[in-house]
Amino acid sequence: MIYDPNWGALAVFAVIVGFTLAFSFYLGSRARSASGFFAAGGGIHWFVNGVAFAGDYLSAASFLGICGMIAFYGYDGFLYSIGYLAGWIVALLVVAEPLKRMGRYTFADALNSQFQSRGINLAVALSTLAVSIFYLIPQMVGAGVLVKPLFGLPQWVGVVMVGAVVILIVVTAGMVSTTYVQFLKGSLLVVFTAVLVVLILQRGFTEVDPNDPTVRPLQPQTLTKTADGRKLIDGELQGKREGEHDFRTIGHVLDLPGEEKSTGPLGPLEFFSVLQNSEVILWKAGAEQVDENGDRTIVYTPQPTPGNEILRPGNYPSFKGIRSDRFLDKLNFVSLMLALFCGTASLPHILIRYYTVKDQASARKSTIVGIASIGFFYILTLYLGLGAMTSGAMDVTDTNMAAPLLARSFSPSLFAIVSAIAFTTVLGTVSGLIIAASGAVVHDLMASYFQIDMHEHNKVRVAKIASVGIGAVAIVLGILFAEMNVNYLVGWAFSVAASANLPALVMLLFWKGTTKQGITAAVLVGMVSSLGWILLSGDTYKAVYHLDPADAIVPFSQPGIVTIPLGFLTLIVVSLMTKSGRADRSESAEALVASN
């Protein structure tokens, strides 16, 4: 769709983003040491850190991706909400306090606290970089999504804008400002999402007239990209001028229960029971057809769908397998849910937030605050997605646009505020990821693995240079992956994190036989196997290589159910083979206790 810039909305957007940046720079001027840059000096209050957890975690995937997935496919997007939240139980009950006790700046500190092994530093630094970059891609894609309707600019401009602003934030500030940006953004995101849900419930559902000549809700739409670079919509040149044509907005209720044409305000539970008995028009994108001239055409077809099918799992293409008899398809689903469960407590940018508070009790309390904020938000996502699905404002070509367009269906001002919050959402998450990645480069790779002697000031300077490089990589990848649902991409990041990091962390905490070689091998095997699995999967064949997914080498797309156990198995086998490493561990542990 073509979007016209709205200057009023732009002004509101500029004020919110400008305030966030000014706040960030002010705080950044106060952080000079490496401890200040990477861990905010361990002086963040637990409540602030808890809300900042929400700010960090509720990324573009949660806000744009889940909402879009629910808006286009129904309940399936909510499965991500459930999995993402469940992962926090692992973080709180298994990981939070020991991690705080063992680490200082980075995740590698914790894994290496009893070994002082360069191999662990190298392996964890590489896995941190891999996970951070995988996680950065959807954030950058989300940034591009936001800029399209707000500025009327192409997606790649949004990606470059976010990349540039985030690099500026991280280079001038570090963890202190990142924390407060995340606190601010986490609070705003939860509050304004709640406002949106109240408005959705107030609006209720209204039937569309199937014969409305403007909406034409049951008429297919076609997009043709001609060989000479033009875009045709339903056979006419795409544009807003006379004789040109653009996509019609979608998202309509075709039939409500009983004779009523509009429900009026609905209660929070009534919302689902009414939808359950309604019929909604979903849309399906057909496979791209190429004709003899080289023109490529996609047909979008309306699919009237009963509400009870919308509120059940198995509509999203990747989840359809749970309704089949094919065991591997069911395993693919279980694998994803396992990765979401295990992934949260393995994400480097989340784990380093435990070092920003003063002690284990604060780590615990901030996690509880995080669970409350994040859980509340995830409950709202189901309303948000279904509200978008029935808002009549969706873009048939882009699932990621659902939340901002839902806000625009209420008012341009709300659209501006929601877009600004979503933009700061991306800024906050990307900042955290870049800090985690730059910490891995400087602290784990350069200082610990290569043993380059650096003063505090130099560490910060090199970290800032690394931030620029990582930001540039993120910009390029954000442009390359522009057409994928951001939520789905984050699912991959969770798989890599859970496979590479969780086995080492859990076994270190609960098995005395763990050796440094075991940890190093588990991290490397988990990372390489999960990355390899993803690159050889049917989903990647289809979405990235544009090949037939049936030719994929691995039997299903989500790696977690294979690669997470593989990480555990690798650690156990290698640790048993290198039993002498245990002596290293006990000596180091004694030294560590003595130093306290």
Binding site: G43, H45, L93, P98, K365, I371
Partner: protein, 100 residues
């Protein structure tokens, strides 16, 4: 503003007894949640038609079970926070007393 001064964190003394108690309680509650989550994933994967059944207030199993999982995560986190609020052997709250 609380937390804005960013002074270096005070060195926390490790109390093995408290850590062991917290880990034990954490794992017990984790097992409770894991069984709830595992049940949800299992039903979705192997009996998805059950998720469509209307059970209460016009809501189906999928919506109710999903909300219940999110709410139970919050409840369990509060239970954990309450059970481990004091260090082993008494003392004041949040690790400021004996043994901490």
């Amino acid at each position: 503003m609380v937390g804005m001064d960013h002074k270096p964190a005070s060195a926390e003394v490790h109390d093995p007894a408290t850590s062991a108690r917290n880990a034990r309680i954490g794992l017990m509650l984790f097992a409770v949640y894991l069984s709830l989550y595992g049940g949800f994933v299992g039903v979705n994967a192997f009996a998805p038609q059950r998720m469509e059944q209307i059970v209460w207030g016009g809501l189906n199993v999928a919506v109710l079970y999903g909300f219940a999982l999110i709410l139970s995560a919050f409840v369990l986190s509060l239970v954990y926070g309450w059970l481990v609020r004091n260090p082993v052997g008494g003392g004041s709250r949040d690790g400021k007393g004996a043994g901490q």
